[in-house]
Symmetry: C2
Subunit: 332 residues, 2 copies
């Protein structure tokens, strides 16, 4: 019989379709037929030498070649840095000026490098750039939420292949984030504990869904994973906002990301994926009930009408089997 | 400057990316290169003559050829009809037996017919089958929510091309539906009115986003449409649950659906889409604050990391322009 599982962090139910489930190796991406990418593309705005093709630079990690990581404004931003937050309420029609930030993190000089193949040091540099921009953007009083994310591969929504990620800052708290806050507060009221810390303790005790861990980060497939190989990376130390990450944690997160993305790359043949860093809203401080984390969603299956109509997901991979499969993939 | 708009029904914000917006005709699907489908496929479980290939039939609209519409159990159901609702709560790990319904509505005898080309009478027959099964399934006390949906085209998640839709019934109220209920109740508390009725009145007064209407149904692009050509079909009569649709309303909805799907088909060159009927949970009765409706989501763009990380959407089509474009497409 299929099993419903509830994501304790969002209260959302997922159907683990046991009868329809596929073995983990059945999710391996078929061989790609495309030509290999060049190391440098003269038409790419993110390649070294083409810096003038991108919009204003907001951050740079320099080295003797010029730079290791650059952060630039998005040339076609979804939110504009200029202007005030102006709300209009006309009965049921409610709108607001689209102020905020939309930046691009150029992760590497190489045009063709899959992030799974970065060194720990390269991941450290990227995470440091995320933190620096997060801290800076958070100071803008118009900003309510900061969302850092990456789209890897066409089905994950990439339009430019040069490896990059994005930083957005919205002038409102998105409803999804507000719902998560509400749930976290409710759990705290009932138990006196953080729902994320509690989940992490249970996952570590169980071990079935753990993929990899360091002293300060644990990567695991959630008990109620939404889709095949959907995974979470939790910091062990309770902390509400990504920008409060410590230097030693950046090193550990870099190692964990390299391991996790490497396991996906080698185990599933470089699947497309999104990742996103989930933090407390920008105007909140450190809170006992909320814990930042990173979510990775491989884009292996498509959502369809059932997901749209119900908000629920049908997962045709069994979380424990997915975790075992990834645990067994060796990266180095 | 981009504009944020709030969906009054879900409280979700969407970014209307005015600078990045494309003209409506830029969303027209490129010509397909695939061979035309046969009218009958000997290997298709939904084609006439192959009835034995599908699982148990639960409903049939008969005619002199045998049938016009059939409803059958899904051969690989996501939820099982057998068994009791058994909940297990083990701290943060919460699960439930996956009981429920998962049926397939074979909409037409023809293997190759796009739903946009059905006659009003054919739509009437399909909607009648939806209603009959909805009424029957709702009587099962294990059922908490009934979701009727359709996946049209590969990017909308179809695996079988023979035109069909699906009926699912879940043993819990999905969180998404519960949130919508909460918002509708809150609106009712503040105004004494149904948020759906209020929205419909405002949209009819405004006219900018209306696509088509009959006496009992209005199709329009929502003010805060999530994605290009995302549209809603609202019944004019306040009613909470789809299965309470009256005979004259079935006729009007059939005509509206034919018009709307026809406009998408002719105007945008048969885009993939999902539609879903949103109703009050099965155990609730008629309520002043909740109103059933139908949502259609063309799958023209991909969601990416921003949507995953924030729950917000970036719409690169301006709702008023999309509506005007569809209004101007002639179907007959």
């Amino acid at each position: 019989m299929p099993e419903l599982r509830q994501n304790i962090i969002t209260r959302e139910w997922v159907i683990i379709a046991k009868e329809r489930a596929r073995r983990p190796d059945q999710f391996i991406r078929p061989k790609k037929e495309s030509d290999p990418l060049p190391q440098f593309d003269p038409g790419c705005p993110f390649c070294p030498g083409n810096e003038a093709m991108s919009a204003a630079e907001t951050y740079r990690v320099a080295d003797r070649d010029g730079w290791k990581v650059r952060v630039v404004e998005n040339k076609f931003p979804a939110l504009s840095q200029e202007g005030d937050r102006v709300r209009r309420v006309d009965g049921v029609f409610r709108s607001m000026s689209g102020v905020g930030f939309h930046e691009v993190v150029v992760e590497n000089r190489r045009h063709d490098l899959s992030p799974a193949l970065y060194s720990v040091e390269e991941f450290r540099t990227i995470l440091g750039a995320y933190r620096a921009r997060y801290m800076k953007i958070r100071k803008d009083p118009r900003v309510e939420a900061i969302i850092i994310f990456k789209n890897h591969g066409e089905s994950a929504g990439t339009s430019l292949v040069h490896p990059h990620s994005q930083i957005t800052a919205t002038p409102i708290v998105p409803t999804q984030i507000r719902h998560r806050m509400d749930e976290a507060i409710r759990f705290f009221d009932e138990t006196g504990d953080c729902v994320f810390c509690t989940t992490l303790r249970r996952e570590l005790a169980d071990r079935h869904r753990i993929i990899a861990s360091t002293d300060s980060f644990v990567a695991f497939i959630p008990y109620a994973a939404l889709s095949p190989f959907h995974l979470w990376i939790f910091p062990v130390r309770h902390c509400s906002s990504f920008d409060e990450i410590e230097e030693y944690e950046i090193t550990d997160l870099a190692a964990t990301l390299r391991t996790v993305l490497g396991k996906l790359y080698h185990g599933l043949n470089d699947p497309d994926y999104n990742f996103s860093i989930r933090s407390i809203p920008a105007r909140e401080g450190q809170r006992e009930y909320f814990h930042w984390y990173l979510t990775v969603i491989p884009r292996i299956v498509r959502t369809a009408g059932f997901e749209i109509g119900s908000g629920m997901y049908i997962n045709t991979a069994i979380p424990e089997e997915s975790a075992k499969f990834l645990r067994d993939v060796s990266v180095d």
